[in-house]
Amino acid sequence: MRDFYGVTLPTPMMLGTARFPSPAVMEAAFRSSGASVATVSLRREGGAGQAFWDMVRGLGVHLLPNTAGCHSAREAITTAQMAREYFGTDWIKLEVIGHADTLQPDPFGLLEATETLCADGFKVFPYTTEDQVLASRLIDAGCKVLMPWGAPIGSGMGLNNVHGLRTLRAAFPDVAMVVDAGLGLPSHAAQAMELGFDAILLNTAVAEAEDPAVMARAFALAVEAGALSTASGPMAMRDMAVPSTPVMGKAWL
């Protein structure tokens, strides 16, 4: 598997920490899935911060702070700087939201923030679209990882633009790519890996399942399945049938 800014992850699965019914259920989901990265955020101190901080450190996974909810480059940059100090990592999942309904990335604010943060030594994981031109600009700015969306955050629709994602993957074969947002079922995750992506990041589909720990495990198996499939050289699809059982030696009855 490609590395992420020099880090080789044990599993191609990144998991959010939000929307779980309880911290215990969240921990169970990390254990059952073997997710190797946990996304976290910064919010106003209300007393619960220390306990959450202790807990996520206890997960023994890489922490990936996000800039969720930031609608401008400036907000995202300041949030990233605060996160680097708080979480002690220069990894940042950079979200610059362009629209409240779709939570889609703002290509302009995203590029601006990416250029500033890369110059400031951050290792940026940009939450982006499948736009290939935007991708090339982010790579020029210093990104070694891209996180294109599959569908709007929390929608569970899966991969809305398979052709666009395939084109993006093919355009930058050497860049690590993570499908982030919109996955709803394990088959979506397997499909993403079959398209050649390097990992997935998900949260809602696991946290909102009736049994998050089991669903987390299901996604973990699906991404591994998709990765193995890509590695094992799939058959070519055919438009006609071909008998699997040999016809030769068939009896005349």
């Binding site: 919010r43 106003r44 101190e45 700087q81 605060m82 996160a83 100090e85």
Partner: protein, 65 residues
């Protein structure tokens, strides 16, 4: 002086950010700070003066997706 802390107006005796955090009960807490929209590293809190009406954000870890 009056400054805005995490969106609420507070009357503080402190003149510098580090004192303010102590006065607010966050002297020991693991937090990240921003003043008027700009990040203030922990090391700079002692030297950071406050002015009336300043907007202080004191953040901590939270769930995220």
């Amino acid at each position: 002086m009056k400054i805005e802390v995490n969106g609420e107006t507070r009357e503080l005796a402190a003149t510098h950010l580090a004192q303010a955090l102590a006065e607010l009960g966050w002297g020991e807490a693991r937090v990240a700070t921003a003043l008027n929209g700009s990040f203030v590293p922990a090391a700079a809190r002692d030297a950071t003066e406050l002015s009336p009406g300043d907007r202080l954000e004191v953040l901590t870890a939270m769930q995220g997706g």
